[in-house]
């Protein structure tokens, strides 16, 4: 009986802990709960100072930098680089096993390029979305192309794919960019074996569908709602979660009066059919380009004494929203940046209070800037501390709203902007530790420049992340103290991971400046114009025999 009870507890624990990775880094967000947390603790607070480079890999093309999350399965790393180049590498030595260079058209001519943020690996196949809006499947062993399907004509939709796909059972679910284009967003699921389309969920309801009346006239046809990052999956609830981006035109909202569902919303879908199960809209009628497209972190925590299944999503407006992931019920919202002037706050019902909507034609200062109170680069959740680690950015912008008509396939911003310094304190960035439910801040690590790299948390109580100057570093997960630093030679804009092969733990980080945001930084920090681009993956380990 005692033994049985023990077994039951173990099973329950195992179920609750599915968010952590161990030897492999199998999915974009670590596991599909997007924790970016590893149970590996060989590298820890007491020995991280000895961490040394094991190998480096140059992708050979620096335009677009290196923004991806490497995937590691059974000692092989699958690395996606800009221009849809995929490399399979021996994860111990860095030796190349195969590579695949997708043949993009000569003219891309689209805003959302040429970077790529990752592949998905599952069932003997490697899946990638492309700069010209295709999805390809490759043989995991050889890199040979197995199938290739056009999602939608790139010129027509002004959209493409830079985010990593999400594989759920036998389906590959892929989002699209295009939130700043005259475009109607969607998620599409393809059969993993054949590439056949299984379903499409339009993030803007069509005529006759519920929510269609939240759009004025024909504005739904070009209303944005892109799905440019990667979603999450809860196998127990069998729900796919995805963050939906801003409404278009970004700044000019007169032509799309209404709440504009399902832009800036978290959507929960049935993976078999793409049917909407629930949604939660964080920003009704967005006129600031404050996407809700970032990661959905799935975790369980007590709320007022009751254990709840929760979902956390930080949006570009600089607010973390926490909802019940079984039904979308609002739990809490809290800021990750100090400089927030587009609203006064969020009330206890989750409603935005004191909206500051810039008028047409009049230059208006809004904080944060279009770059966000946080960029897309992902936070990490550690079940050991129970804290969420995320960056925040302090900066503002002067935006001038312009009336604009949608033109098929073209940018659709409805305004122009220019970065302006923070109004409260210095401009710059910080990495912080929060209680994910209440937003209580435990520590803050300041940075001269916005931090634009993702974080990874480990059971060694370490947080790894990097900065625009090329520093890749480890912080103490409990205090925020910097314990180790390595200069990678180019700004960090990707997502570090950790994995182990034959009992040895490794930490890998993409180093490579060059992105839309990197291009905007000189407006506030002129010296960053000369920050060197790059595209290198660095891998670190403790010297053999380190205690």
């Amino acid at each position: 009986m005692k033994l049985l009870a023990g077994g039951f507890i173990c099973a329950a624990l195992a179920l609750a802990q599915t968010g952590e990775t161990r030897a492999d880094w199998p999915h974009y967000g670590g596991q599909q709960s997007a924790w970016r947390y590893s149970a590996l603790d060989q590298i820890n607070r007491s020995n991280v100072s000895k961490l040394s480079a094991a190998w480096a890999f140059q992708t050979g093309k620096i335009d677009g930098g290196l923004q991806s999350t490497p995937i590691v399965v059974d000692g092989v790393m699958y690395l996606a680089a800009a221009w849809n180049r995929v490399f399979a590498l021996d994860a111990v030595t860095g030796a190349p096993l195969w590579h695949y260079f997708y043949q993009n058209p000569r003219e891309i001519g689209i805003l959302y390029s040429p970077w790529n943020r990752g592949v998905a690996v599952d069932g003997g196949r490697v899946f990638m979305g492309t700069l010209d809006n295709h999805v390809v499947a490759l043989d995991q062993k050889t890199g040979r192309e197995l199938w290739n399907v056009t999602v939608e004509n790139m010129q027509q939709c002004g959209c493409n794919i830079t985010g990593a796909p999400l594989v759920v059972k036998d389906k590959v679910i892929v989002g699209v960019t295009g939130g700043d284009s005259a475009h109607r967003g969607y998620l599409t699921a393809f059969d993993a074996k054949t590439g056949r389309k299984v379903w499409r969920f339009w993030t803007i309801p069509g005529p006759g569908e519920k929510g269609h009346d939240t759009w004025l006239g024909d504005s739904w046809k070009a209303g944005g709602g892109s799905t440019w990052m990667t979603g999450s999956y809860d196998p127990e609830l069998n729900l796919v979660y995805w963050g939906v981006g801003n409404a278009a035109a970004d700044f000019y909202g007169e032509a799309r009066k209404g709440s504009n569902l399902y832009t800036d919303s978290i959507i929960a879908l049935d993976p078999e059919t793409g049917t909407l199960k629930w949604y939660y809209q964080e920003i009704p009628h967005d006129v600031w380009d404050f996407d809700g497209a970032y990661e959905c972190v799935l975790f369980d925590a007590p709320v007022k004494g009751t254990m709840r299944k929760l979902l956390l999503n930080v949006n570009k407006g600089g607010y973390a929203f926490v909802v019940d992931r079984t039904n979308g019920e609002f739990i809490s919202a809290w800021p990750v940046a100090e400089n927030i002037t587009w609203i006064k706050g969020v009330n206890e019902k989750g409603e935005l209070v004191g909206r500051n909507e810039p008028p047409v034609g009049k230059p208006t200062i809004i904080c944060p800037s279009i770059g966000g109170g946080r960029q897309w680069n992902h936070g990490a959740y550690s079940p050991r501390t129970g804290w969420f680690y995320t960056t925040g950015i302090e900066w503002c912008q002067e935006v001038t709203v312009q009336k604009e008509e949608p033109k098929e396939g073209r940018n659709f911003f409805g305004g122009v902007f220019q970065l302006r310094p923070a109004q409260k304190g210095p401009s710059g960035g910080h990495m912080d530790a929060y209680d994910p439910v209440t937003g209580k801040k435990f520590w803050s690590y300041p940075s001269k420049y916005p931090l634009l790299a993702s974080a990874v948390a480990t059971a060694g109580d370490l947080i790894f992340t990097g900065d625009p100057e090329g520093n890749f570093f480890a912080l103490d997960a409990k205090t925020g103290a910097k314990l180790w630093n390595f200069q990678t030679g180019s700004g960090n804009r990707g997502s570090p991971i950790t994995y182990s092969v034959k009992g040895r733990q490794y930490v890998a980080v993409p180093s490579g400046w060059g992105s839309a945001l990197a291009g905007l930084l000189p407006q506030l920090w002129p010296e960053t114009e000369d920050f060197p681009p790059g595209s290198t993956l660095y891998v670190f380990a403790l010297p053999e025999g380190t205690p």
């Binding site: 001519g109 939608e152 004509n153 389309k197 069509g206 940018n411 839309a516 905007l520």
Partner: protein, 259 residues
Amino acid sequence: MILAAALMMAQSAAAPATIARGETIFAQTCSVGYCHGAAGTAARGPRLRGRTFPREYLDRVVADGIPNSAMPGWKDRLKPDDMRAVVEYVVSLATATEAAPPANPMPPGVGPATLPNFNGPRLAERGHSAFFDATRDNCGICHAMGGRGNAIGPDLAKIAEKSPRDVVAAVGSVKAQHVLTATLADGETFPALQFAQNGGQIQLFDLTVIPPVLRTFNRAEVTSLRANPSWAHRDVAKIYTAAELGDIAVYLRWAATGK
């Protein structure tokens, strides 16, 4: 000597009105989003302010774009005069100070003159829109026309002279000409169009659902390829109304014959 000096003057000093028009177009076309920043300060695209570029280079890049980059060509989207105005404006930025200029407020409702997406006759425009209508499974997913769409299925210029009723009939009649049944070693079968065969590999478009999928196999994985006379094209009458099919017929005729 005087003539040469006058010519040089003319080259370096475009009419202020042209530069102003270029500024307007630049603000709404080139500054937007993450591209060249307000007044060319810097963004995802390179800084243009305070830099000197050869005019011929600017002409070429604005018209044709830069291959393998995010810079598109504008010759199909802007009128030649507007492209020239943008170039004049960018040339004028060479002597601009690097200090951030004031944001460029545009009077509401003022926009650049751009070509419409479709520059054929109004009669054909409705058919063009229906042909490429992204809100449903449209013709352009499988057929190229006027430089758009995907050339997977047959060239529809051949049925351009037909009436709407005959267009529907023609769609039904082309089915058996090229469609095959592919059988794989694992037993899977699907309707296919052969795309390419090279080395030990064969590429087939899988027509099971829309959009078709280009699948690549080692030759040994495909055990047979047989004619598939029973394959049926999607019933276009279920996708489009009779009126829309009429519009599409008009568009096809215009696209194929210019009439």
